[in-house]
């Protein structure tokens, strides 16, 4: 603990506050494996002393039998600190409690996420990306340990097997714990052809396992980025120009400097920070500044103007993302034509832990304490701001108090490094909630046009969908933006579209609004397009006067009105016989049964369904709502059926789906970021509402047993929540919600 001049303690005994050593002990009592992610540097040093067996980038085994997993995925609530070591423990044949965790260092070469191409945690990819590499890494280590034991005992490796962290010679019952084998094993070549267990041999995967990070989070001992403590550290809070793209012209800090505890006022080109002994002084100091902003070119930005621009842009055709058959021709001959415009607002992430970053700048390098989803980018951003080569920047990543895509950005890290460059002490920069909401990198505003042609029976023969919005991919991962097409913007609309419609065209109009940087938000492309597709399909079902579930089922697995040529083409696109359609049908059937679909409800109540294939997971949910006479929506219950392939940790999967649904409902009901005079109009949880427990539905999640490879689970629940809700509102009231959020749109009923 640092000596703190603001504090004298009586009596002079140890405070209840935990010293670093005490935290260590408490952690060990609750499961020693938790140490690794609380104090990565300490464990790293220990592992380096002791680890002699390092067969790959992920596994270290020491002479004392301790297994350390070098984990590239960060923990932001989605359960990676449990599911990732489960994959290792399964093939390494060790108890899960034997695996300690150490955060992977920034290294895009060793630790890139195979599905994303860089060291990133996001897109519901962790289990999907690491499912095979981690099990193969563990299996290779196990084979080498068995070979080491067999050599020592001069027996055939085939007569040995591994179990519970030991190699056993079956005929004689001789045993050797891994620790005594590591020196010999390290000399063996790493096997390249490594067989894996078949799913029916799994002993750990598929069993509900308690989260390893639960106890420290329950005891208040978990360290998030905002809890970083560095000796001599000061606290800063910051105000960036309220208009994006604006600059600091000048600031009168005379009143701020009189606030007790304020040490320094730091000027950046686009922001001012007040550095103080504690956050209260920093906040008081910030409020006392008289700041003169040069608001720059975006000072007249308004939501009304943005929507007008998007509407204009959406009237011209875009880059074609998918074309099956001839949609224009088929709509021309259709019995009925239906058109609609759907809109989704800008969204902030509002992670419970506001943006923060602690930086200690030294002449020869710097240290960064932060919670972030892209550690190598965090390092690069701090290095660039500090004017240092990246290898001089040490990043100490922490638990994330929510990510949801916000911490796939490094803006707050670069800013903290720029501030720290001007401060002679380590400085923790903490954004206020107002700063966090007003300077988010928001989810794009989408303005989509959909149309369909129906045959005499009301079934779609043609479907068009034009997506209009800014491109996240072009800004965040330029290599993923090809030929004018953002694949994320059309995901679940062009790709992963769940229905068989013979004539289809999906096109994409990129329209950027100067000054507004847009980013990933939980559910990414699917959260956008599952709302669009599932709302519009519901409109078609209503036009056809068909039950929404029955109608959807009719679009699975067969191609209505298909000519021979079209059928063949579609079969190729869907990969021949369609397991996807069968799995979609299964989740739809299960949710129908479990939700009491079709059962009678009181007036003003209704059920709505959504169906999706996203992140490699099949999911259908039914929301049940009651809408009061004055237009207040109450979501009473959500029932969800999920086929995510082999479930690694079923209990966490249910929690993620359930939480993801609540997250999606919050956005659908309340959330929007709007601009006026270039400024974000929302500021805190009073005007950027989050669903509260007394407004939260009962959520029931049912998993379908599957032997397919795992799908993602962090985001699918969020994606389908909005359309299930708005389709239920339609069932209850006859009002179709085509623009989110719902807010008070029903007040006029």
């Amino acid at each position: 603990m640092t000596g703190n001049p603001m504090l004298s303690r009586q009596p002079m005994t140890k405070p209840a506050g935990l010293s670093r050593r005490a935290i260590l002990k408490a952690g060990a009592a609750g499961g020693g494996l938790l140490l690794g992610f609380r104090l990565p540097r300490m464990i790293a040093a220990e592992a380096a002393d002791n680890a002699v067996f390092a067969p790959n980038a992920f596994i270290r085994i020491a002479r004392d039998d301790k297994v350390t997993m070098i984990i590239p995925q960060v923990e932001m609530g989605q359960g990676t600190y449990t599911s990732m070591p489960m994959l290792i423990a399964e093939e390494l044949e060790v108890d899960l409690a034997q695996v300690g965790l150490e955060d992977a260092p920034p290294d895009d070469r060793l630790y890139a996420n195979p599905l994303l191409g860089l060291q990133a945690t996001g897109g519901s990819t962790s289990v999907r990306a690491m499912w095979e590499p981690l099990r193969r890494a563990a299996a290779a280590a196990r084979i080498m340990l068995i070979a080491a034991a067999a050599r020592q005992w001069r027996v055939d490796p085939a007569s040995c097997h591994a179990q519970n962290g030991e190699v056993i010679h079956v005929p004689t019952g001789r045993r050797a714990p891994y620790g005594v084998l590591v020196d010999i094993a390290a000399a063996f070549p790493v096997p390249t052809n490594v067989p894996l267990k078949s799913p029916n041999e799994f002993e750990l995967i598929g069993k509900p396992v308690k989260r390893l990070d639960s106890p420290i989070k329950v005891w208040g001992e978990a360290r998030f980025g905002i809890d970083a403590m560095v000796p001599g550290m000061l606290i800063a809070t910051v105000a960036a120009c309220p208009v994006p793209g604006g600059k600091l012209r000048g600031v009168d800090d005379s009143a701020a400097k009189k606030v007790a505890g304020v040490r320094q006022v730091v000027r950046l080109d686009d922001a001012v920070a007040v550095v103080a002994d504690h956050m209260w002084a920093a906040k008081q100091g910030l409020a006392a500044l008289d700041i003169d902003w040069d608001e720059g070119p975006n000072a007249t930005l308004s939501t009304a103007e943005i929507v007008r621009q998007l509407d204009n842009a959406s009237q011209h055709s875009g880059v074609v993302a998918r074309k099956d058959g001839d949609a224009a021709e088929a709509i021309g001959h259709a019995a009925t034509k239906i058109e609609a415009i759907y809109q989704m607002p800008y969204l902030a992430h509002a992670t419970m832990e506001p943006m923060n970053c602690t930086v200690q700048m030294r002449p020869d390098g710097c240290d960064v304490w932060v919670g972030n989803q892209v550690v190598a980018r965090a390092q690069a951003a701090a290095a660039e701001a500090a004017g240092l080569p990246p290898d001089k920047v040490r990043v100490h990543n922490h638990l994330l108090g929510g990510g949801f895509g916000r911490r796939l950005e490094v803006d707050y890290i670069a800013q903290a490094a720029r501030i720290a460059k001007q401060v002679a002490a380590p400085v923790k920069v903490v954004w206020t909630r107002e700063e966090d909401i007003q300077h988010d990198i928001v989810r794009p505003y989408y303005y989509d046009r959909l149309s369909a042609g129906l045959d005499e029976k009301g079934m779609p023969v043609a479907w068009t969908h034009r997506v209009t919005g800014s491109s996240v991919m072009a800004r965040w991962l330029a290599a993923g933006f090809k030929d004018g097409l953002d694949p994320d913007a059309v995901d679940s609309a062009a790709t992963d579209f769940p229905y068989a419609i013979p004539n289809m065209v999906v096109d994409y109009v990129r329209h950027e609004i100067p000054g507004i940087a847009t980013g990933w938000w939980r559910g990414v492309g699917a959260t956008h397009n599952v709302f669009m597709v599932e709302s519009f399909i519901d409109e078609l079902a209503a036009a056809a006067k068909r039950d929404p579930i029955e109608y959807r089922r009719g679009l699975l697995g067969k191609l209505p009105n298909s000519g021979a040529g079209i059928a063949a083409e579609a079969e190729v696109a869907w990969g021949g016989p369609n397991p996807q359609f069968a799995r979609l049908a299964r989740v739809l059937d299960l949710v129908t049964r479990k939700s009491g679909w079709g059962g009678k409800l009181p007036p003003g109540s209704g059920r709505g369904v959504s169906l999706q294939y996203a992140f490699g997971t099949y999911l259908s949910q039914v929301a049940q709502v009651a809408v009061s006479r004055d237009g207040v929506v109450r979501v009473e219950r959500v029932v969800c059926a999920v086929d995510c392939g082999i479930p690694v940790n079923p209990d966490t999967i249910k929690a993620q789906i359930s939480g993801g649904i609540v997250f999606g409902l919050t956005a659908a009901l309340f959330s929007e970021i709007t601009f006026e005079n270039g400024r974000v109009q929302q500021s805190n949880f009073n005007d950027y509402r989050v669903l509260r427990i007394d407004e939260a539905p009962v959520v029931d999640v049912y998993l379908i047993k599957s032997m397919q490879p795992p799908g993602g689970i962090g985001e699918p629940g969020t994606a389908g929540a909005a359309p299930a809700l708005t389709n239920a509102i339609f069932a209850a009231t006859g009002k179709r919600i085509r623009k989110l959020p719902v807010k008070d749109q029903l007040r006029t009923l």
Binding site: M6, F663, N684
Partner: protein
């Protein structure tokens, strides 16, 4: 110079009288289990017990707390209700990111101290000041119900 009783310890502080308890706990006493979420008593992440009542520390001036007994997440496990609630939270695996959970647990422990067997409506009413962005509400309800049934 305000003095403060936190988790059974007395602290003599040299901080401004109007400094909210939250920042005293986090930045001066260095008890970081109590979290900053909004600064305006809208989210509940900063909930502590003051003489057993759940209050939002982000809006409690430290000078008003002289002679009051403050309990934070770091010590609530030493109270019978805190212990029951923490155990139920672990049994049911409530947490996801975990950032709001200190505040949730403090609110739940105060609820059970006042009302050992709350109904679902009473749970919702008592917990509605605590936001969870991960959406753990269904498990929070289940954990409080379970904690309420412990002997």
């Amino acid at each position: 110079m305000p003095s403060l009783r936190v988790n059974g310890q007395t602290y003599e502080l040299s901080v401004p009288d109007d400094m909210p308890l939250l920042w005293v706990l986090r930045d001066v006493v260095e008890l970081t289990g109590t979290k900053f979420g909004c600064g305006i008593a809208q989210c509940g992440a900063c909930t502590v017990h003051v003489d057993g009542r759940a209050l939002r520390s982000c809006v409690l001036p430290v000078a008003d707390l002289a002679g009051r007994e403050i309990t934070t997440i770091e010590a609530v496990g030493k109270t019978p209700n805190g212990q029951k609630v923490q155990q139920a939270w672990i049994d049911i695996d409530v947490v996801q990111c975990g950032y709001c959970q200190s505040g949730q647990i403090m609110s739940a422990a105060a609820l059970l101290a006042a009302n050992p067997k709350p109904s679902d409506a009473e749970i919702d009413a008592a917990m509605s000041g605590n936001i969870c962005r991960c959406g753990t509400y269904p498990r929070i309800r289940a954990a409080i119900r379970q904690a309420g049934t412990f002997a």
